[in-house]
């Protein structure tokens, strides 16, 4: 079964009198359990494609299928449900809820999903430990460093083991050691839990982790190649 299938996706943006092409007839299929990196220069359409696949933005034309569901036709409510139960997001700018602690931020999605308090608390503690934030559960985002905040965001994205994780420049604001740790975590989750990862990045060291590398330019897919990923810890952090 194809996890994600995009057909002839087009998206344009208007900036004053100028029309900018975000996506130009993009066709792409991503299978369950793949580890894909989208790369290309700024404005190439990486983030636009991520947002479209994640149901955060709707294409002007074309189709997006996730399994049997055509998500570009879903209403806001069902689309929100689809994101809640199937997709984890990691944004470049951390995007944590400032009034919640690290633990509460990680629990937030599970709370909305209706997971029992004890279960979600245990899962949140475990995942925070896994991303190296043990002992920082009660800190609010303002009291965490940029790297720590990103790790909380990653923990939130993966804690409920979604089918798909969409990450937009997840290592952009991290030091190389933290970035390596994060990529190793992604790689491990991909291998052991078959979570599909689609990562938009400029960082060649991150690209090295991908099994599939898609190069975009001007809203089009220029190349789509498979590669042998590096072993964990081999690239980032060196």
């Amino acid at each position: 079964m194809s996890t994600i299938h995009c057909k002839q996706l087009c998206k344009t943006f208007q900036q004053g009198d100028v029309t900018i092409t975000g996506l130009d007839q993009v066709d792409i299929s991503i299978e369950e359990g793949e580890f894909v990196c989208l790369s290309g220069p700024s404005g190439s359409g990486k983030t636009t494609l991520l947002n479209a696949i994640g149901g955060l933005d709707t294409p002007d034309s074309g189709e997006i299928h996730m399994g049997d569901i055509r998500i570009d036709r879903l209403d806001k409510g069902p689309l929100a449900d689809m994101r809640l139960h199937n997709i984890g997001f990691v944004f470049q700018a951390y995007n944590l809820i400032p009034v919640l602690t690290a633990q509460e931020n990680v629990e937030f999605v599970m709370q909305v999903q209706g997971v029992a308090p004890a279960e979600r608390a245990a899962k949140a503690r475990e995942i925070l430990k896994e991303v190296g934030l043990e002992g920082m559960e009660d800190r609010r985002p303002a009291n965490l460093s940029g790297g720590q905040q990103q790790r909380v965001a990653v923990a939130r994205a993966i804690v409920s083991q979604p089918q798909l994780v969409l990450a937009d420049e997840p290592t952009a604001n991290l030091d190389s050691t933290t970035a390596a740790h994060l990529m190793n975590l992604f790689s491990s989750l991909n291998q052991h839990h078959k979570i599909t990862f689609i990562i938009a990045t400029h960082d060649k060291r991150v690209m090295a982790y991908a099994k599939r590398l898609i190069w975009m330019q001007d809203g089009k897919i220029m190349t789509d190649t498979e590669q042998e990923p590096v072993a964990m810890g081999d690239v980032v952090g060196e």
Partner: protein, 415 residues
Amino acid sequence: MSSGIFNLPFKATLTLSWRNLWRNHRRTAIMLAAISVGVWAMIFMTAIMRGMVGDMLSEGIRNLPGHIQIHQQGFADDPSIVNSLPSPGAELLSALDDPDTEAWSGRIKVPAVISSERDTRGVTLLGVDPVSEDAVTGIAGQVVEGRFLDTVDDKGVVIGLKLAERLETRLGKRIVIMTQDSENNIADRGFRIVGLYKAKLEAMEEKNVYAARGTLQGLLNIGDRITEIAIIDTDMNDIDPLYSKIKAATPEGLEVRPWYEIDVYLSTMLATMDGFVLVWIIIVFLALSFGLVNTLLMAVFERTREIGLIQALGMRPSMIIYQIVLESVLLLVIGLGVGNALAVITILPLESGLDISAVAEGLAMFGAGAVLYPTLLLDDVILANVVVILLGTLTSILPAWRAARLNPVQAINST
């Protein structure tokens, strides 16, 4: 696995709403103060108005009509001695002796002309039994010079201070009263002024002249007949049981009327009071609502990025509306709590009487006294609370709806 509006994680939403509320302490505190003062004003002013209307009502009723009146049929159209009625018989006396009866008085009430050596005025001449009349109207307590009538055969009269001023007469002077007897002949007689009274209403002072009932019956040549019986119920808000008993015991040919039929002005005022209170509460709320909407819009504006984030994480638009409305409800509930407490704290000590004599002259025209007794009614408190919660919640739907309509991508990328 739907997470629609009916299976919202209440605790998560409550936590988020509560903490968001205190992100900007100063703004929340100002809004809370505005809500509290608004709610206090709603309840306090309503209690003042209730007290004033209650005072006007009880004074108005005591000023003559009583709660129930018995007349000869046709007296309302022609209030003259021709439409007199006999003194109450045994059956009516028994009904008047009911425990619900606080007091009653049989009186003569006829139009008359009063003359001093300097001026002449048209008045209402009242022939009363001093004891029972005082029990109904408290007139003896209003006498400020001289005395009230002693017996039913007293030969003196008691007039108002204002009337004395108009007639340019005074206590101890003689006046002449002229009216028509039962045969439509002129009946007149000289009386000595034995007392001057001061009423809350100057109009009453100018209008009502008190003479002894027996003396007037002799003047009018009507035997022991009277023109009306005024009855005071122990509970003015529930006069129907006594009214029914008296109506059943009243002989045919006489009519029994409750105060709200006799004094349409007072009854209309009472009937419109509830509507007036509601309008007042809504007006205060409208003033509040601008602040509330502004506060919530600012809160939404400041959190655009965060709202985009929770949308991206899978919060439905309905849940976002719920979360922001809950924030507003929390604000309203706290404001209501403080406002209610302030109202109770400020009204209860005033229930024994608030002296407004400095500004009471104008109010006296409407029958309100110089001492105001604010009346705190549970119904009014409930009304104010329900209006604030209900309309406040409705008002907050606009900013919440705007938040729910944000595009997640644009919201997340906003600065």
